[in-house]
């Protein structure tokens, strides 16, 4: 029922997409089932290059599931079944010949809880580079420095690169994890509620970082914090019950949402 009702909206979204030539991710009619239960219903969404897109919606609305479809993280769960298309730079990432390892290098991800490895700061950032076979010490040092600088952490850790990453504050750990993701030079960054465990100052620093990262990266952020979505994103998608209800420029969605469900959610009339 609901899926039918919103198809018009979604078609409109794909039409809008045709107007932009900087679309790097294009999700078409994406449905996901978890065992028998359908958790995403015909989602259509696109991400524009070097823009921040926020996914908002109540718990269980499918926003994290959608995020995980972009680096095929859902593949790791065999109870999960996917139908539809996810195109990244014109390539169908669910095609049989897709190399998932290189996909995940291209699409970096940062989780809700900072998850540094119990290693030194340096080794955390160098981890992916070493996996890729980089061994030259000077080159490693240079890449680690660049990644830490991009993640706005370099100045805070440059004198203790070989200390344990676990000594860092949680805000610093979150930026370290971002540096780790940036080190392998992804094109797209997926952030799954990256600020929900941070104090307000660390949160603002992270938002500041997101603003600086979009100069080079395409970012999709899932957040529970609507003000945060409003602050950091260029576009916002509102999801509810596994459907993409509305997708607009952020300023527009937060002042004049087109759908009653969006209105009720962002004004706190939900439920």
């Amino acid at each position: 029922m609901h899926a039918k009702k919103h198809n018009g909206e979604q078609q409109q979204a794909s039409l809008l997409q045709a107007e932009h030539d900087d679309v790097v991710v294009n999700i078409r009619d994406l449905s996901v089932w978890y065992r028998q239960r359908q958790v995403l219903h015909d989602v259509n969404l696109y991400l524009r290059e070097r823009h921040v897109t926020a996914l908002i919606g109540p718990s269980g609305c499918g926003k994290s599931t959608l995020l995980r479809c972009l680096n095929r993280l859902n593949d790791l769960d065999e109870r999960c079944r996917i139908n539809g298309e996810v195109m990244i730079n014109g390539r169908d990432i669910y095609a049989p010949d897709e190399d998932v390892v290189s996909l995940r290098r291209e699409v970096g991800m940062v989780f809700q809880r900072p998850n540094p490895f119990p290693k030194s700061i340096f080794d955390n950032v160098a981890y992916g580079l070493r996996l890729l076979g980089m061994t030259a010490r000077v080159e490693l040092q240079e890449q680690v420095r660049q990644a830490l600088q991009a993640a706005a952490l370099w100045d805070e850790v440059r004198d203790r690169l070989h200390n344990s990453a676990l000594e860092l504050s949680s805000g610093q750990q979150q930026r370290l994890v971002i540096a780790r993701a940036l080190a392998v030079q992804p094109k797209i960054l997926l952030l799954d509620e990256p600020a929900s465990n941070l104090d307000p100052i660390s949160m603002l620093k992270l938002e500041e970082l997101i603003a600086s990262l979009k100069i080079d990266y395409t970012i999709l952020i899932v957040t529970h914090n609507m003000q945060q979505a409003a602050r950091v994103s260029d576009f916002t998608a509102f999801m509810d019950g596994g459907e993409l209800v509305e997708f607009s420029a952020t300023g527009e969605l937060f002042t004049t949402p087109k759908q009653r469900r969006t209105e009720d959610y962002i004004t706190g009339r939900y439920g």
Binding site: M226, T255, E263
Partner: protein, 234 residues
């Protein structure tokens, strides 16, 4: 919008918005009284009533400040979005217009000086009275549109402004004719023009409020658009 939408999860937030809404309506009611007194003072040359209008303006100024503070408080604490945000913005603008209408009412009352009646023909009073009625009607209707968040009623108010403007033009033409015909009437004709000017401004500000109502209902900024375009599809 409190009427159009379900309630907030936060009842306190509901109450705050509802309080602001009723405060705006109370401020509007106060202004209606002021304008009524001002027009009567002007038409009847009633100096005592004019003095009352002058004193009464402080109440309107005070209400503007109170509502302003309540809106700032909501913005700071609730970070309103969507229709709530548009409501708060609409209120900010509406009370600024109401406050200036209070000032214009004082100007209307000031025209109660006795000299006009003695010099100008009686018919001109009828024109002024009629213009006053039109403006009072606009104010009344726009407050009603605000109370009910009725965009159609707001549009109807915006349309009425054309009649007020026509009346204004007629009165100024007459005033200029008096001045040309009889130099002794210059002072009275000038004061007539000032009164009409103040009424015309009140009409304009009612139209502004009508536009704020359309904005807060639809989220569309209709300022500086021809009336006929207001409800054409985008």
């Amino acid at each position: 919008m409190q009427n159009r939408h379900s309630q907030h999860i936060s009842r306190e937030f509901n109450d705050e918005l509802e309080t602001i809404r009723s405060q705006v309506l109370r401020m509007g009611g106060l202004l209606e009284t002021q304008l009524d007194k001002a027009i009567r003072a002007m038409l009847d040359n009633d100096q005592a009533l004019a003095a009352e209008v002058k004193r009464g303006d402080a109440g309107i100024n005070r209400m503007e400040m109170e509502i302003d503070a309540a809106c700032i408080d909501v913005v700071a604490r609730r970070q309103p979005a969507a229709s709530d945000l548009r409501f708060i913005i609409g209120v900010f603008k509406t009370i600024a217009d109401l406050e200036r209408m209070g000032d214009e009412s004082k100007r209307v009352a000031k025209m109660s000086a006795a000299e006009r009646a003695s010099v100008l023909p009686v018919e001109i009073n009828a024109e002024l009275r009629h213009m006053g009625e039109l403006v009072q009607g606009m104010l009344h209707d726009v407050l009603d549109a605000f109370a009910r968040l009725d965009d159609q009623a707001a549009l109807a108010v915006a349309r009425q402004d054309e009649r007020v403007d026509a009346k204004y033009k007629l009165i100024t033409t007459e005033a200029m004719r008096f001045m040309a015909e009889d130099p002794a009437s210059v002072q009275a004709a000038m004061s007539l023009m000032w009164a009409a000017r103040a009424l015309e401004r009140i009409g304009d500000r009612s139209q502004n409020i009508a536009e704020h109502v359309i904005y807060l209902v639809h989220g569309r900024d209709v300022r500086h658009l021809p009336l006929d375009d207001l409800f054409n599809p985008q």
